[in-house]
Every structure is written in structure tokens, then in C-alpha cells.
């Protein structure tokens, strides 16, 4: 089963149009919710005025004053209000202030525009530098949402004696997840037996995050809140933390109105107000000896965290740990900061900080190679991590890594050396098209950072059903990545059953245990491993209780399960995460095993630049990755292809334009994601190397493909155009033109 390209469990429903996404849920008598938001980046809310021409008496209106429990969204930090109240501070342009609901969607929208907010404006800070300069203090004492220092050795002792010291500064822009289905929630609040019962159905990655947020919002015990994950039209991290906000809003409207409420964002609202990838700035300083061995590395990594902490502390943590790349280096210092600004808070997005810091490192390595007069291939080969090496956090490499071999495979697949030689000649020609090849080599830590998995202590289980089939109980959600399929394969393999006899249970917090959030490329490796244990426990209890004899056939297993269910009523078995004994992490010093293991990869890109239009075409893209054992090759390839497409978009086209911190190109017309006509076939090679931590040897895969494309593309652009200030993504045609003009104007 593991290793087979089984068909997606929910594939048939998806192609028939019968899969039910949140807004597809038929809810009789539902009200439609809308959100009134601030129109200034910073200020004190003085009043709320309901304008004329609207039958306000027909409306359900919720303000901060109505909130029954705590007006703070439960997240990493509890700093963000669900709604800003009178006398309180507005901290960004999209801050929710009033919620409205009405049975007529069009009228609700008209009413939203008729609400005027009276605000005493305060000066805002809108970018990283203004925040660091403390132009205004808007968060704590120093505008810091989180600060991390990682140190190994002491780079300051190296600069003077090194043959070469090379510095660089790199920037990455915000990026929108652009899941095709916008954020959507349906809520029902019932009063039964003098108790309040809250139920939310939604497009959400992490049912127990929303569950926790609703408990705090209403001040209710666990069993009074129920969260159900509907079919999800993509997420990519964009439905990790935000659903705690809009889930709470929908529930507040349902509670106040006593009616079911649908809160469905249109695309413009979704783009303007929901989370994005954090913009970043990296300053790198590296020392090399005369042969090109890396002696010291210092990086100052800053991300723009927006008005509230959301996931910024953890995004920063992953970015900081990946900042030194996959190179051996005796002296490393990482200083990482997430700073507050008066912008709608960014949050989780595939890669989670690593794409930003790895972009800087992998771009910097090419620039260093040029300055050292070395081939970028050879500079990397001299410096790759190997078995027994120590990373910046002190984590020792326990795998027999062959990163040189992995890199060579990618370069061979794309024909790197031949193409470089050929383009060096053809680029001399008169024509406007210049070609280049480039690559990046990188890793992605699997699972939660540091002690995250230990704190989560995730639980997942399997249950026998009356028809003798097996159902998987986990709160992990399907967002298109293939969780339903991969989990079923893992359990089928553990029980030696055909795939068809296993399926997943609906993700409903009343039914499934907390297997942790569906993030961090952790589901296959971490939850899959727990399910493997649970499945084996399930089988053993069937044997011990005399329902099943080994060896068994699928038929006899099915009979045994059916009999056990008929006799006992319910048969379930749970497993729980156990920290592997050799994994140690210290949260205060940032020393230890940041991740149980890493996935490793080399991505290579070929680009053609048209110097008449400065448009960049990606002509070929090769990905070679080592992700442990691949559970479902076709689904895994789909993850890589989709991730690379997003990475190419981030590298070349996807620009979030802001005014006063708010996205102003918040339409699909002017925020450009790749179409089928914009991309090449993405070549996918898996080098398999089973890892003991994952089920059947699997590692994480979902986020890795986001890390490599941007630096590979900009390295390829340098190959095509020669040395330019290619220090920023997205490298749009406008930006590329400007960089070329810098050179021609000296």
C-alpha cells in the first residue's frame, strides 16, 4: 500500500461536483454575515454611526460590547481582539469593528457600507524599518513580536583573519495564498437546557485551534463547542490561524440572532483582510578561507509581523533555524526579529519563514561564488553538511547525507553544465532573448519546530465500523494535499488490508481526537506514525479478545471487526505521539534538535528573459528531493508541482501592492498567479531514503517545494544577464528593468 499511487479517496465526489464545501452547505433560514472594518491604519475608535436608508431593526448587530467571553483570539499569543470596542485602539486598515447579519445578502452588503466609524487617527508605522527605528511604539516597548538569537562559536573572531568577507542584503515581499475557495464559515448557536451550544462548520485547517478560540470567546467548556471541517478549496497555511477569527465572528452573529449564519468572504475582502506570507529583510555576512570554505556566517533576519502576533513567533523560529542553510560552518550567529507594524497581520503560508531566509542564503551563495571566482556548484560542494556535522542549533546530522550527489542529479537532469556553456555563447548575440540556468540547494525541517510536537502530544485513532471496515479518527484536515488517501494507505498497510476497506471519518471535534493542526508538513510523518501505532494496537486487541486469528485474510478481518462491533458496540484504538529518545530541544537557548529530521532538495531552473519587455519565461524546472519513503508517488508529485508553481509565482510575478498597509491590488485581475500557459512541465525526482521517524519511513513534503524556486530563478536570471542587484522577490518585469538600468547607468 505504501508506495502505491492510490486514487484520491474523495476524488470521485470532487469530479462529480458533489463534494460539499462550506458555502455549498444548505442551511435553511440562514442569515448572511458581513464585517465592518476600519478604514484607517491606526487610531482610537470614538463612535459607530448607523447611516440612513437601512432597515436597521431587521439586522443583527454585534459589537465588542456584546462579546460574552474574552474578546481575544486564542493563538500563539492572546493579543488580537475579535472586534475593537469604543475607546480601544485600531491597529490596521482591515480591523473588524462591527458584525452585521441579514437574510438578504445584498441588503447586508449595502448596510455594511452605511456604517461610519468615528476614529481619532494616530500616526502609523507601515514597514520594517519604521518599526525598528521606533518611529512609533505600537507593540510592547520595542515593537518586537518575537526575537530569537542562535549562536554557535563566535563569528566576530573570524572576520579579521578570513581571506574573504562578503556581505549582502535581501528582501522578500508578501504573498497571498490564493486558495481558490475564499474563507467561509457557517455557525449555529443553540440554547438547550439553559446551556449554550456552539457549532461551526468551515473551511479551516486546524479544527482544534478554532475550538479553542470559540471556548475562550464564549467562556464555554470543551463539550459545548463543536467544530466541523468541510471540504476545503485549498489553504496553504491561509486557513491555519485566520479561521479562529472569522469562525468567532460567524458564531457571534449566530449567537446574537439565534439563527444560523453564513459568513462567506468575497475575493476582494479575503485578499485585503486575511493573512499572507511575511515580508522579510535579511542581512548576511559570510567569511571564507582562500579555498572557499565557509568560516563564519552572521545573519540579521527581520520579518514584518503586522499588527498582532498571529503565527509570527513560530514563523520567525522556522525562518531563523533555516537561515544558515545546509552548510557546515563553525561560527554562526542568527539574530531574528518579528516586528510589529500597522498592517493586517500576516500568518502561516506554506514554508512558514523558511522560504524567506533560504532565499537570502541561496542567493547569497551564488553571489559569494562569483566574488570568490568559483563555480556556484563547487562552492556549495565544498561546504555541504555531512554525517556527524553540527548545525547552528547544535543539531548533529545523523543521516548519511549526500547533498553533492543530490545536487549533481538535479544539474544532470536539467543539463546545467552544457546549457551554461551554450548560453554563454548565444547570449552574446544581438537578439533580445537571454537565457540562463540556476539552482538552489535547501532543506525543510519536518514537523513542528523544537518542542512543538511534545507540547501537542497529538492523539489519533482507528475505529471499527459495523460493516467491518476501518475508519480513521484524526483532526487532520484534507485541503487537497491528499491526507484522506495517505492516511488510508498507511493504516491499510499496517493492517495488511486493501485500501478500499479503510477510510477517514468526518473531521468533527465531537468525533475525532486532537491530532494537532494540519500544518508544518507534519501530517504524513507525525500523525501517520501515530496512526500506524493505533492500527497495530487495534489489530492486537481484536486478536486478544478472540475476534481475530492471525494470519488473516481481508475477509476474515472484516468479519472479525463486524463481530467485535456487534458485540461491544464500539471498537476504537488510539495512539499518541512519543518524543523519540534521542531528540532534545531547549526553547530558551534555541539549542538542540530543531526537527526530528529534514527533507533535502536541489531545484534547478532555466529561464529566458526578453530584454524588450523584461518578461521572464521559465523554460524548464527540475526538482530532486529526498523526502524519505514516498507514500503515494502521484500525490507527492502533485504536491511538489503545485508548490513549485507557487514558488515561481512568488519569485517572479506575485506582488502585493499596499497603501497605508492595506493590499490595494486585491483582485485576481491584478494579483497575478501562474496560469497553465505560464509554467513549464515541472520535473519531479524523488530519491528515497527511509527515515525511522515516519510511517514506513516517510518524511514531510508539503512545504519543501516552496523554498527552492525563488532563489533558483534569480540565480538563473543572473546566469542570463550577468551580475545585477537581484536581491528581491518578486523580481517583476518592472523591478528587473530597474535593476538593468542601474547597471547601464553605472
Amino acid at each position: 500500500m505504501i508506495g502505491a499511487s492510490s486514487h484520491r479517496k474523495e476524488g470521485r465526489a470532487k469530479v462529480m461536483g458533489t463534494a460539499i464545501y462550506t458555502d455549498d452547505k444548505f442551511v435553511p433560514d440562514a442569515l448572511h454575515g458581513v464585517t465592518v472594518r476600519s478604514q484607517v491604519p491606526r487610531g482610537i475608535l470614538k463612535g459607530i454611526h448607523f447611516g440612513g436608508g437601512i432597515p436597521w431593526a431587521e439586522f443583527t448587530i454585534v459589537t465588542a460590547a456584546d462579546i460574552p467571553g474574552k474578546n481575544l483570539v486564542a493563538s500563539v499569543m492572546h493579543d488580537q481582539p475579535f472586534l475593537v470596542g469604543i475607546g480601544e485602539e485600531i491597529t490596521h486598515m482591515e480591523q473588524p469593528v462591527v458584525l452585521l447579519a441579514h437574510s438578504n445578502r445584498h441588503l447586508a452588503e449595502r448596510a455594511r457600507l452605511a456604517v461610519a466609524l468615528e476614529v481619532e487617527e494616530l500616526p502609523a508605522i507601515l514597514d520594517i524599518q519604521a518599526s525598528l527605528d521606533l518611529e512609533q511604539v505600537i507593540y510592547g516597548t520595542h515593537n518586537l513580536l518575537k526575537e530569537i538569537r542562535i549562536q554557535k562559536g563566535d563569528p566576530s573572531k573570524v572576520w579579521d583573519r578570513a581571506a574573504h568577507v562578503i556581505e549582502g542584503e535581501y528582501f522578500t515581499g508578501a504573498q497571498e495564498q490564493m486558495y481558490l475557495e475564499t474563507n467561509a464559515m457557517v455557525a449555529v448557536v443553540e440554547e438547550k437546557d439553559a446551556q449554550t451550544w456552539v457549532t461551526v462548520w468551515g473551511s479551516l485547517q486546524c479544527p482544534y485551534y478554532v475550538h479553542g478560540a470559540l471556548k475562550q470567546l464564549f467562556g464555554l467548556p470543551e463539550d459545548r463547542v463543536r467544530v466541523v471541517a468541510m471540504e476545503m478549496g485549498g489553504a496553504f497555511g491561509g486557513k491555519e490561524d485566520y479561521p479562529s477569527v472569522n469562525g468567532g465572528h460567524a458564531a457571534l452573529l449566530a449567537w446574537k440572532s439565534g439563527k444560523p449564519v453564513k459568513l462567506i468572504y468575497d475575493r476582494e475582502e479575503d485578499l485585503a483582510c486575511t493573512t499572507k506570507r511575511h515580508p522579510s529583510r535579511s542581512r548576511l555576512k559570510t567569511a571564507f578561507d582562500a579555498e572557499g570554505h565557509l568560516l563564519a556566517l552572521e545573519t540579521d533576519f527581520v520579518i514584518d509581523g503586522g499588527a498582532y502576533a498571529t503565527m509570527s513567533p513560530v514563523v520567525l523560529s522556522r525562518g531563523a533555524i533555516h537561515a544558515a542553510g545546509l552548510y557546515r560552518c563553525p561560527h554562526v550567529k542568527v539574530h531574528a526579529r518579528a516586528v510589529a507594524t500597522n498592517t493586517p497581520p500576516p500568518g502561516a503560508f506554506r514554508g512558514f519563514g523558511a522560504p524567506q531566509s533560504l532565499f537570502a542564503m541561496e542567493r547569497h551563495m551564488d553571489i559569494c561564488a562569483r566574488k570568490l571566482g568559483l563555480d556556484p556548484v563547487e562552492l556549495r560542494r565544498k561546504n555541504f553538511l555531512r554525517l556527524g556535522d553540527t548545525m547552528a542549533t547544535g543539531q548533529v546530522i545523523r543521516e548519511d547525507l549526500d547533498l553533492g550527489g543530490l545536487m549533481d542529479r538535479a544539474l544532470a537532469e536539467i543539463g546545467y553544465h552544457d546549457k551554461r556553456a551554450a548560453f554563454a555563447i548565444t547570449n552574446q548575440g544581438e537578439g533580445p532573448i537571454k537565457r540562463g540556468v540556476g539552482f538552489s540547494v535547501f532543506m525543510h525541517g519536518c514537523g513542528f519546530t523544537g518542542s512543538g510536537e511534545s507540547y501537542l502530544a497529538s492523539v489519533a485513532g482507528v475505529e471499527g465500523l459495523a460493516d467491518g471496515t476501518v475508519s480513521i479518527l484524526a483532526a487532520s484536515t484534507e485541503m487537497g494535499q491528499g491526507k484522506n488517501t495517505v492516511f488510508s494507505q498507511i493504516v491499510a498497510e499496517a493492517l495488511k488490508l486493501p485500501y478500499e476497506l479503510v477510510d477517514v471519518a468526518e473531521v468533527d471535534t465531537d468525533r475525532v481526537p486532537n491530532s494537532g493542526p494540519t500544518v508544518a508538513s507534519r501530517s504524513t510523518m507525525m500523525v501517520g506514525r501515530i496512526l500506524e501505532d493505533a492500527a497495530i494496537g487495534f489489530k492486537q486487541s481484536l486478536v486478544q479478545q478472540g475476534f481475530l486469528q492471525e494470519p488473516y485474510t481481508p475477509e476474515s478481518f472484516q468479519v472479525a471487526v463486524a463481530k467485535a462491533v456487534a458485540t461491544l458496540g464500539s471498537v476504537k484504538c488510539y495512539g499518541q505521539y512519543h518524543r523519540p529518545p534521542n531528540i532534545v530541544w531547549n526553547d530558551s537557548t534555541y539549542q538542540g534538535d530543531a526537527y526530528p529530521t529534514f527533507s533535502w532538495a536541489c531545484y534547478a531552473a532555466e529561464v529566458a528573459v526578453d530584454l524588450d519587455t523584461y518578461e521572464v519565461k521559465v523554460e524548464d524546472f527540475v526538482t530532486v528531493q529526498e523526502v524519505g519513503r514516498v507514500v503515494n508517488p502521484r500525490l507527492a508529485a502533485g504536491q511538489v508541482e503545485g508548490g513549485v508553481a507557487q514558488g515561481i509565482g512568488w519569485g517572479l510575478w506575485e506582488e502585493v501592492t499596499t497603501k497605508q498597509g492595506r493590499m490595494i491590488n486585491n483582485q485576481m485581475t491584478n494579483y497575478i498567479i501562474p496560469t497553465s500557459a505560464d509554467l513549464p512541465r515541472i520535473q519531479v525526482v524523488f530519491l528515497e531514503n527511509a527515515h525511522p521517524a515516519g510511517p514506513g519511513g516517510a518524511k514531510g513534503i508539503g512545504e519543501l517545494p516552496m523554498d527552492g524556486p525563488a532563489p533558483a530563478l534569480l540565480n538563473a536570471l543572473e546566469g542570463a544577464l550577468g551580475p545585477l542587484r537581484l536581491d528581491e522577490v518578486p523580481m517583476t518585469p518592472e523591478r528587473l528593468l530597474q535593476r538593468c538600468e542601474e547597471v547601464s547607468h553605472g
Binding site: V15, E181, L635, A637, G642, A645, M668
Partner: protein, 159 residues
């Protein structure tokens, strides 16, 4: 002006009649009034193609079509592609090739691909890329969708 107007159309082979708001979008009539929620809204402005349907044999973005234009028309949505529970060749190929990941672009993509193969039974890869360029997918990077369309085309050709 009338509060509601009566709209009659042939929807997935069946005569349907429904009273709708005179300015309703065809997308909303399909999803809300006729409860065919297979057709999706991704943008509401003609950019993403998630709402693609056949209107009198032509593919249209139903988010941009006033429902009144469907008066007396033949409409086919994703729900009308399978016959009696049997998947159409392109639907079957999407299942086999993992052409649907999150599945939200899929209904529109399937209608667009069906139209493409009607017009051009043996498309080259570039013709498929151009033919589907009005349908955005954020999950797949399009490779598995191309595989599915190519397989459906080859199966069609061999029949």
C-alpha cells in the same frame, strides 16, 4: 419592475423553471435557487474560471452572466457531465491522474476541458495549456491536469 421573474431552462437535460431576482447572476441561480452547488465561485469577476458552465454549447463564466440570459437556454454544469453515475472520460481521467487536489477549480476545469476536447479532439500540450489558461488552479501546477486531458484525448482517439 417585477420582483421576481420566471426563468425556464434546460439544465443538465431536464426542464427547470424557477422564479429569480431580475438582476440575479446565473451562478447564484444555479447554486442557491436550483441547489446545484458543483459550480464554484472563486472571484466573481471572470478571472478564475471556477464558475465555468456550458450555456447553449458555449463555455461561459456564470458569475458574469445575468440569469435572464439563460431564458430558454440549454445549460450544462459539472453535475451534467457524468451519465447515470458513470463518469465522463475526462472526469475519469481526472480521478486517475490526481487532476483534482482541493477540487475547487475542478468543476470549471472539467467543463473547460470538455469544451476543449469537443473543439480539438487531439490537442498538443501547448493547445491544452492555452485552452485552459482561463481556469486558475492554485494546487496542481497544472501538470496532473495536463496528464488527465491528454489521457482523455488519447482514449477518445482510440475509440
Amino acid at each position: 419592475m417585477a420582483d421576481r421573474i420566471n426563468l425556464v431552462m434546460k439544465l443538465n437535460g431536464e426542464e427547470r423553471s424557477v422564479n429569480v431576482h431580475p438582476f440575479a447572476r446565473l451562478l447564484d441561480v444555479l447554486r442557491e435557487d436550483l441547489r446545484l452547488t458543483g459550480t464554484k465561485e472563486g472571484c466573481g469577476e471572470g478571472e478564475c474560471g471556477a464558475c465555468t458552465i456550458f450555456l447553449n454549447g458555449q463555455v461561459v463564466n456564470s458569475c458574469l452572466v445575468p440569469a435572464v440570459q439563460a431564458q430558454g437556454a440549454e445549460v450544462i454544469t459539472v453535475e451534467g457531465l457524468a451519465r447515470g453515475g458513470e463518469l465522463s472520460p475526462i472526469q475519469a481521467a481526472f480521478v486517475a491522474h490526481n487532476g483534482a487536489q482541493c477540487g475547487f477549480c475542478t468543476p470549471g476545469m472539467l467543463v473547460a476541458a470538455t469544451d476543449l476536447l469537443n473543439r480539438c479532439p487531439n490537442p498538443t500540450e501547448d493547445e491544452i495549456r492555452d485552452g485552459l489558461a482561463g481556469n486558475l488552479c492554485r494546487c496542481t501546477g497544472y501538470s496532473k491536469i495536463l496528464d488527465a486531458v491528454q489521457t482523455a484525448a488519447a482514449d477518445g482517439a482510440s475509440r
